[in-house]
């Protein structure tokens, strides 16, 4: 398991010490999870919905109750500009 790669994928910075302790924890958890290899799953389908799922259609109309108000939702963001959530640049310049 490449802990550095995983922390990049998960967008979580880990310091050296944590990289070590997390690796150790994850190895032990994965060791336990390995138990699943013994399960006889050959004939089992993948369960994706716990209750019988049917597609539920609704008319293509605006909902009767509009969701919240935009200003209030926007207020939760740490940085905004002219009614938009502001983000930093995505790419490094160099």
């Amino acid at each position: 398991m490449d802990i550095k790669k995983l922390s990049q994928l998960a967008r979580i910075k880990l310091n050296k010490k944590e990289q070590e302790s997390f690796s150790k924890d994850l190895e032990s958890i994965l060791g336990y999870i390995g138990k699943l290899k013994e399960a006889k799953i050959e004939n089992a389908p993948e369960l994706t919905h716990i209750l019988a799922a049917e597609n539920v259609f609704r008319l293509d109309e605006a909902p009767a109750e509009p969701f919240g108000n935009a200003a209030e939702l926007l207020a939760a963001a740490p940085e905004k500009k002219k009614g938009f959530v502001k983000v930093k640049q995505v790419f490094n310049e160099d």
Partner: protein
């Protein structure tokens, strides 16, 4: 008028409000006093709502005007910190949401509000509901009211401790792998995890969406039942919510005891605390004496339940927690480019267990591992559900311990994540299968001076919460 808080119930409050024995406002006062006195040592609450007085005064006014009180009129509730109440802070006990205020009510809160419930405050929990001890809160642990050196259970530990120490009449929690039932067992109260889909998840801060359910914590089964009836129901805002009438079996339920959890022959099971085994044997005797048939059933795939859970849950966690990125809500770390802000914000403001699970989930879902982990776990989940289907052909309700031991000590399992995970071994299968399960207090174990509560778990088929209440009351009445 003097009130003995431990004798109060929803029915009793109703009676007193109608007779004018006391007002909703007085009730809030009494509970606030109790919180002031007790919560310094227990730390169940993260915040006390001062506007509970206004809510109560409004209700008193309506009663004076002749309104007949609705189901939960004046009933003081504590709400877990991951369930949104409009204009109140809601943070799932995480630093990353420290400054977040809810802009809407969760559907369950809306329903409680509509029948007159009063909200006293929000309660402590394991961060993002990840834990079995309340020790993963970013704001320090809650203590068990029976022994302050022990955990109250988790993740709804604050809610359970508040109910147990009479700092509210009832509470809401959420249960993903046992987070209502385990703390209920450790604190000696009743906790219900409803059928998946029974209660809308709209406004519940998501942890693992295919497993999460909101449920009540209460002092007795009647109260839990009353609250459940109010909060259940189909909600267009949660596509997985179900519409159904609560069902129940006949007066003498056939009780199945899963041999993987408790052996009827040995009257116990390896690894089971003696007090817990004794409680099981007593419950079995009581049910037998009431002419209920007791039979052994088998849930063979439950052996894999915890392994299955620790793939599916972190996988869902890793995607649900992606929204906490320093852009949309609350806290943000500084950085030059976006990715740096994400990584630093999440490093600083997500606790260790949350980060551990996000990374584990990221691993399980990463390219090339699907078949080995997530796909395999979904298949095992099917087997687990199948086991329950089979068992419920022979039995109306299943009886097992809720947890193998009474509450453990603070710090005892905090250093070993796997040891902590194993405390959910009896509760996780119900979440994977989506069936309803209830933990009820069944006596105390241990030495004279520090006796600790024990919880027994009843599990019923999908939509049969009524069976849980009926069978639970048989035990509650005859203990």
């Amino acid at each position: 008028m003097k009130i003995n808080l431990s004798e109060l119930s929803i029915a009793k409050i109703r009676e007193l409000l109608i007779s004018g024995g006391f007002s909703a406002r007085e009730l809030v006062e009494i509970y606030h006093r109790q919180i002031k006195e007790k919560d310094k040592s227990i730390s169940a609450y993260l915040e006390i709502f001062q506007d509970a007085y206004e809510q109560a005064e409004e209700l008193d006014k309506r009663i004076k005007q002749g309104e007949s009180p609705a189901e939960l009129f004046g009933v003081p509730f504590a709400i877990k910190d991951n369930i949104l109440i409009k204009d109140k802070k809601a943070g799932a006990a995480s630093r990353i949401l420290e400054s977040y205020r809810a802009s809407y009510d969760a559907s369950a809160i809306k329903k409680l509000r509509a029948v007159g419930a009063v909200f006293l405050g929000r309660t402590n929990m394991d961060e993002f509901a990840m834990g079995s001890s309340c020790e993963n809160s970013a704001f320090g642990p809650t203590k068990n009211p029976y022994d302050l050196e022990r955990v109250p259970g988790g993740s709804s530990g604050g809610s359970a401790a508040a109910v147990a120490s009479q700092m509210c009449l009832a509470a809401l929690g959420s249960d993903t792998g046992g987070s209502v039932r385990e703390p209920a067992a450790f604190c000696g109260i009743v906790g219900l995890k409803p059928t998946y889909g029974a209660v809308s998840r709209f406004g519940l801060i998501a942890m693992a969406s295919s497993l999460d359910q909101i449920g009540p914590l209460a002092k007795n089964i009647d109260d839990a039942e009353e609250i459940f009836k109010v909060i259940k129901g189909r909600d267009p805002k949660d596509s997985t919510s179900a519409d159904y009438e609560i069902k129940k079996c006949g007066a003498k339920p056939r009780v199945g005891v899963p041999k993987e959890f408790f052996s009827l022959k040995e009257k116990g099971k390896e690894g089971l605390d003696q007090g817990v085994a004794a409680a099981m044997n007593r419950a079995i005797e009581i049910l037998r004496s009431l002419d209920c048939e007791i039979k052994e059933v088998s849930l063979p795939a439950s052996e894999y339940a915890l392994a299955c859970y620790y793939i599916i849950m972190p996988a869902e966690v890793s995607s649900n927690l992606a929204r906490y990125d320093g852009v949309r809500y609350g806290r943000r770390a500084e950085g030059k480019i976006l990715e740096e802000i994400y990584a630093k914000t999440r490093e600083e403001a997500l606790g260790q267990e949350a980060r551990r699970r996000v990374i584990l989930g990221t691993y399980a879902l990463s390219a090339g591992y699907y078949d080995a982990y997530y796909g395999r776990a979904q298949k095992a989940r099917w087997l687990i559900r199948k086991d329950f289907e089979k068992a419920f052909k022979e039995a109306d309700v299943l009886l097992s311990p809720t947890v193998a031991t009474p509450a453990f000590k603070l710090g005892e399992k905090a250093v070993d994540p796997l040891a902590m995970y194993l405390s959910d071994i009896f509760t996780v299968p119900a979440n994977l299968a989506g069936v309803p399960a209830l933990s009820l207090p069944f006596g105390l174990a241990g030495e004279e001076r520090k006796k600790l509560p024990i919880g027994l778990q009843l599990t019923a088929p999908w939509f049969y919460e009524g069976t849980l209440f009926e069978a639970g009351k048989l035990l509650e009445k005859n203990i």
